[in-house]
């Protein structure tokens, strides 16, 4: 719902989630400014109206991903969401699919635990004595990596995925996307172990190409494409008997 052009509404009606998983929406009236982000709104509420509101942010300029929340049902970065793109009536809640610490703050530990379970870290095979690895920037694998490497771990995709909700053990789009960048890294020494970690019922094969992750990613990444790549790569390894 977008505000009409030249809206004369002076205040915003804002409902904010209070509590943990069990909780309620609390209503506030917030003065409308000419240029205002959702983060501005939440900050105003916490500073001027209710000091007990808990929320998280850091850079406030769209670089860190800390301020991600659910705005009118969709996971977004609050610092990069203008009020005009949402409307006069705001519903602000914490990210879905994660435990709630308090109000708008979620526990990101499960998200990063799955990152580790998907072996989302580089395994070196050389030392400083071995010289530089030569990787052409236009090689097909490097292009695949470039398309997926900009993830900052904000949790928007994870929060938007139905499969994460249905299957709590599902690794999720971000962890799988990061694993894909490493599967394509010719310097990495753990390709088969990583494919074994990301394949199967709790991994890439549980993805049903709903593409909400790709739809919502603030960095315009395509986790669905990365997951499709993992499906192909793991099938090859499984058929070769190496998985």
């Amino acid at each position: 719902m977008t505000a009409p052009v030249g809206s004369t509404a002076r205040t915003l009606e804002v409902r904010v989630w209070r509590g943990k998983e069990a909780g309620r929406y609390q209503s506030f009236e917030v003065p409308r400014q000419e240029s205002q982000t959702i983060l501005d709104v939440v900050t105003y509420i916490q500073r001027e109206l209710d000091h007990t509101l808990a929320y998280r942010y850091a850079c406030r300029v769209g670089m860190c991903g800390s301020c991600a929340m659910t705005i009118n049902g969709k996971a977004r970065w609050t610092c990069r969401t203008h009020v005009t793109s949402v409307g006069d009536r705001l519903e602000i809640a914490p990210l879905a699919n994660l435990p709630v610490v308090k109000d708008l703050v979620t526990d990101m530990a499960p998200f990063f635990d799955k990152w580790a379970r998907a072996k989302g870290h580089f395994h070196a095979t050389q030392t400083r004595r071995d010289g530089f690895a030569a990787v052409r920037p236009d090689s097909p694998q490097r292009l695949q990596i470039d398309a997926a490497i900009e993830c900052i771990g904000c949790g928007v995709c994870y929060s938007s995925c139905d499969v994460v909700h249905w299957l709590p053990e599902f690794l999720g789009p971000a962890a799988l996307n990061r694993a894909w960048t490493l599967v394509n890294d010719v310097r990495d020494g753990a390709r088969v172990e990583r494919l074994a970690a990301v394949a199967g019922d709790a991994g890439c094969h549980a993805c049903h190409t709903q593409m909400t992750c790709t739809e919502r990613c603030p960095k315009r990444l395509q986790p669905t494409a990365a997951i499709a790549g993992l499906k192909r790569a793991s099938l090859v390894v499984a058929l070769a008997g190496a998985l």
């Binding site: 969709k74 929060s159 909700h165 909400t212």
Partner: protein, 126 residues
């Protein structure tokens, strides 16, 4: 936002607003059509198995199936089958071919072909 019980306790879940986009609708159509077709299949095999009793038995069934409501149901089934087929081809392309932007248009193409197939079947009765 709604509550949902899952492993590890209650978690807040997202609602329809974030699911309201074409690729998600495609998923719903694909899953619903697949489930409906899977449930239909045993009945389909039973009906064709009537042939075991000779042409007359099968003819009985075909004439029963001539009723307008049954014919309408058959058009629906063809639509479901065509939708599941074309949606499935779209998925096979997304999963097995390199990712390309034009693949988003596959959704429209697949919907169009489904409707055409159902029309071809339905128009036999006009």
């Amino acid at each position: 936002m709604g509550l949902a019980r899952g492993v590890g306790g209650i978690r807040l879940k997202s609602d329809w607003r974030t699911r309201n986009h074409p690729a998600y609708w495609a998923f719903v159509v694909h899953r619903a059509s697949g489930l409906a077709l899977a449930i239909f299949l045993p009945f389909h095999f039973w009906a064709l198995g009537q042939a075991l009793g000779g042409p007359a038995r099968l003819e009985n069934f075909l004439r029963w199936a001539d009723q307008p409501l049954v014919k309408a149901g058959e058009v629906g089934l063809v639509l479901l089958l065509a939708a599941h087929l074309t949606g499935g081809v779209r998925l096979l392309m997304l999963e097995f071919l390199a990712w390309r932007e034009w693949q988003k248009g596959l959704l429209a193409v697949s919907a169009g072909i489904s409707v055409l197939a159902a029309l071809a079947y339905a128009l036999n009765f006009v």
